[in-house]
C-alpha cells in the first residue's frame, strides 16, 4: 500500500534532515555563514576601541548601515543563492551519484514526495543555520540602543532570507532534477545571468529572483561602485505586492516542475 504524498514527504524529510545537517556540505555552509559572523565580531571589536568599520565619503556609517550592507551584499546576493545552488541541485543528484536512488524509488511512496521531503529538509537545514547567524550578526553590529527602532527591519530581513532560500531552492531543485549538469547551470545563473541582467535596461531582469528580492529589502542600497551606479540608473523597483506575487509564483511553479521532472524522468545509474 502506497503512503499518502505528504506522509511520505514527511518520512523523507525526517531521514534527510539529519543527513544534510551532518554532511560535508554543512562544513561549507558553516564556513560561508561563519564569514559574516566573524566580520561582525571585527566590526564590534573596532567599535569597542572607538574605530569606525565603514566610512562613506569620509563619514562613519552607523551599525544599522553596516548591517544593511552585510544583509544585501553578503547574505541576499551571495550566501542565499550559493547555498541554494549547492543544496538545491544536489537534492536528487546526490542520490544518483551515490547510487542510492533505487532504495528510495523502490519504496511504496510517490516519487514526487521524495523530492518534496528533501526540499523541505533543505529549507529547514539552511534556515536553521542562516537565520541564527543573521541574528548574531545583528546583535553584534547594531548597538542595543538602536534595536527598538530597527527591529521591524530585522524581521523583514529574516523573512526575506527565508523567502530567498525557498524560491532559489525551488528553482535549483528543478535544475537538479531536470538537467544533467545542474551545478554548472546553477552557478552560471547565480553569478552570470542575474548580475548581468540586473544592470541592463529592459524586461530581462524580470526573469531573475534578485530583482524581486531587491524590491523588498528594507535598507537603502549601497550606492558606491560602477555596478551599483548602473543598477541605480536602470532601477525600476516593482511594488511589494508584485514582488511577493512573482516570488511565490516562481517558487511554487519550480517546485511543481521539479516534482513532475522526478516523477517522469528515467534515472540511469552508472554501473
Amino acid at each position: 500500500m502506497k503512503l499518502p504524498f505528504w506522509g511520505a514527504a514527511r518520512r523523507v524529510f525526517d531521514l534527510s534532515l539529519g543527513e544534510m545537517l551532518w554532511s560535508r556540505r554543512t562544513i561549507f555552509m558553516a564556513l560561508v555563514v561563519g564569514g559574516p559572523v566573524l566580520l561582525a565580531l571585527i566590526v564590534r571589536g573596532l567599535d569597542v576601541f572607538g574605530m569606525t568599520a565603514l566610512r562613506v565619503n569620509g563619514r562613519a556609517v552607523g551599525g544599522i548601515g553596516v548591517f544593511g550592507v552585510m544583509m544585501w551584499m553578503l547574505f541576499l546576493r551571495f550566501i542565499v543563492p550559493v547555498l541554494a545552488v549547492f543544496y538545491g541541485t544536489a537534492l536528487m543528484a546526490d542520490e544518483v551519484e551515490d547510487k542510492t536512488l533505487t532504495y528510495l524509488f523502490t519504496r511504496p511512496i510517490p516519487r514526487g514526495a521524495v523530492l518534496v521531503g528533501k526540499y523541505l529538509a533543505y529549507i529547514a537545514c539552511t534556515i536553521l543555520v542562516v537565520l541564527p547567524a543573521v541574528m548574531l550578526v545583528y546583535f553584534l553590529v547594531v548597538p542595543f540602543r538602536d534595536v527598538a527602532g530597527t527591529f521591524p527591519a530585522l524581521v523583514t530581513d529574516l523573512s526575506l532570507l527565508a523567502l530567498g532560500l525557498v524560491v532559489y531552492g525551488a528553482l535549483f531543485a528543478f535544475v537538479g532534477a531536470f538537467f544533467k549538469r545542474p551545478l554548472v547551470i546553477g552557478l552560471v545563473f547565480t553569478f552570470g545571468w542575474e548580475p548581468t541582467v540586473m544592470v541592463l535596461p529592459g524586461y530581462l531582469k524580470q526573469f531573475t529572483i534578485a530583482y524581486y528580492l531587491q524590491a523588498l529589502v528594507p535598507h537603502a542600497m549601497p550606492t558606491d561602485g560602477l555596478t551599483s551606479l548602473l543598477q541605480g540608473f536602470f532601477r525600476e523597483t516593482p511594488s511589494v505586492q508584485v514582488s511577493l506575487f512573482w516570488l511565490i509564483l516562481y517558487g511554487a511553479s519550480f517546485l511543481w516542475l521539479a516534482t513532475r521532472a522526478v516523477e517522469r524522468r528515467e534515472y540511469v545509474l552508472e554501473q
Binding site: R145, G149, P152
Partner: protein, 331 residues
C-alpha cells in the same frame, strides 16, 4: 531524528527565539537603553525634557580648536564687550565652555514670540558658581534651591514672564532659560523622564555620533509652534523629522536629512531640491570658488528620506581669507 540533530535544532531555535524576543520587548515595551549599551548622544540629554521637539548639540571645544575657527579668529576685531563679560563673570566662552546642548519643547506658546519660554540651553564647562551668584544678587536676582540644585533667577521689573534663570545642575553643567524651563530640565534629570526615552528622536541622535555640531527634531512641531501663516504652512512640504549634522575642522562638511510623511512627498522634495541645485550650478558657473562649493552638494535619499550632503574644503576658505586680507590692505 537523532539526538545530535535534535540538539542542533534546539540550539538554533533558541538563538532565534532569544533574538526575536529581545527585539520584540525592546521594540514594544522599551527596554532601558542603559541595559546593554550607553545612550546615544551626550550625557547632558538626561536634562532635556521628554517632550522636546528639537535638540541641538555643539562640541564647542572641538569647534574652537579647529583650524576653521583659528583661521577666522585672526580676522576678528577685538571686542571690549567680551572682555567686560569675562571680567564680571570669570567666564571665557572660548576656553571655559566644552559643549552646549539646546532644546526646544512645545509649551502651547509661540516660539517666535517667546523663544526663551520654550527653550533650555545646557552648557558644560568650568564655572565659578560663587562669583556668578554674587553677580546675580548684585543685579537684583534671587538665589534658591530647587530639588537640591542651586537656582539663580532674575525677574524683569514690570515684565509679564517668569524671567531668566541659571541652574547649576551639576558642578560643571549649567542650565539656562526661563525659570520654568530650567525647573523642567532639573525635573527631567531628577525623575529620569527625559528625551532619552523618546525613541523617535534618539534614533536620529544615534546617527550623529561622528559630528561635532548637530540638530534633530520634529519639523511639523516647529512649524506649528512658530506661528507661521496658515498659507505658508500649507505650502511647506510634508516633512516630519529633520536632522542636520556638521563636522568642522579645516573645512566644513555636513548632511541635512529630512523624513517626509510618505514616499511621494519625499520624491517631490527631492525633485524640488534637484531643481534648486541645477539653478545654483547654472548661476555660479562663472565663479569658480562658489561653484566648487555648489558642486560638493550631493542630493541622495531613498524611500521617505531626503538627504543633502555638502563639503566645503579648506581651499575655499583660503580663497575667502585671501579676499578679506586684500580688502583690509586696500583700506
Amino acid at each position: 531524528m537523532t539526538n545530535k540533530t535534535r540538539n542542533f535544532v534546539l540550539v538554533s531555535a533558541a538563538i532565534l527565539t532569544i533574538g526575536l524576543g529581545t527585539g520584540l520587548v525592546a521594540s514594544y515595551m522599551g527596554l532601558p537603553v542603559s541595559l546593554l549599551s550607553s545612550a546615544a548622544g551626550p550625557d547632558d540629554l538626561k536634562y532635556v525634557p521628554q517632550n522636546a521637539a528639537v535638540v541641538a548639540y555643539a562640541n564647542v571645544r572641538d569647534v574652537m580648536n579647529s583650524d576653521f575657527r583659528q583661521r577666522f579668529r585672526q580676522l576678528e576685531p577685538q571686542s571690549a564687550d567680551r572682555d567686560e563679560f569675562e571680567q564680571k563673570t570669570g567666564l571665557d566662552i572660548e576656553r571655559d565652555i566644552d559643549s552646549v546642548v539646546a532644546a526646544f519643547f512645545p509649551n502651547g506658546e509661540s516660539i517666535a514670540e517667546h523663544p526663551e519660554r520654550s527653550a533650555v540651553v545646557l552648557a558644560r564647562g568650568r564655572f565659578e558658581a560663587g562669583r556668578l551668584e554674587a553677580l546675580a544678587l548684585e543685579h537684583g536676582g534671587t538665589a534658591e534651591d530647587y530639588k537640591g540644585k542651586r537656582l539663580l533667577s532674575h525677574l524683569e521689573q514690570g515684565g509679564t514672564g517668569d524671567g531668566m534663570a541659571v541652574g547649576f545642575v551639576e558642578p560643571d553643567l549649567v542650565a539656562l532659560g526661563s525659570l520654568a524651563a530650567v525647573k523642567l530640565a532639573i525635573d527631567a534629570g531628577a525623575d529620569n523622564r527625559n528625551v532619552m526615552s523618546n525613541n523617535d528622536l534618539m534614533r536620529l541622535v544615534a546617527e550623529m555620533d561622528s559630528s561635532n555640531a548637530w540638530a534633530v527634531g520634529r519639523f511639523d512641531a516647529i512649524a506649528r509652534e512658530a506661528s507661521l501663516p496658515s498659507d505658508l504652512q500649507a505650502q511647506l512640504p510634508t516633512v516630519t523629522w529633520f536632522s542636520a549634522a556638521g563636522h568642522i575642522n579645516g573645512g566644513v562638511s555636513g548632511v541635512l536629512k529630512a523624513e517626509a510623511r510618505d514616499e511621494a512627498a519625499a520624491q517631490n522634495l527631492r525633485d524640488m531640491l534637484r531643481g534648486f541645485l541645477a539653478m545654483a550650478r547654472l548661476q555660479t558657473g562663472s565663479r569658480p570658488g562658489i561653484q566648487q562649493m555648489v558642486d560638493s552638494i550631493q542630493l541622495s535619499g531613498d524611500g521617505k528620506t531626503v538627504a543633502l550632503s555638502f563639503a566645503v574644503p579648506s581651499e575655499f576658505f583660503d580663497a575667502l581669507e585671501a579676499l578679506a586680507r586684500q580688502k583690509q590692505g586696500e583700506r
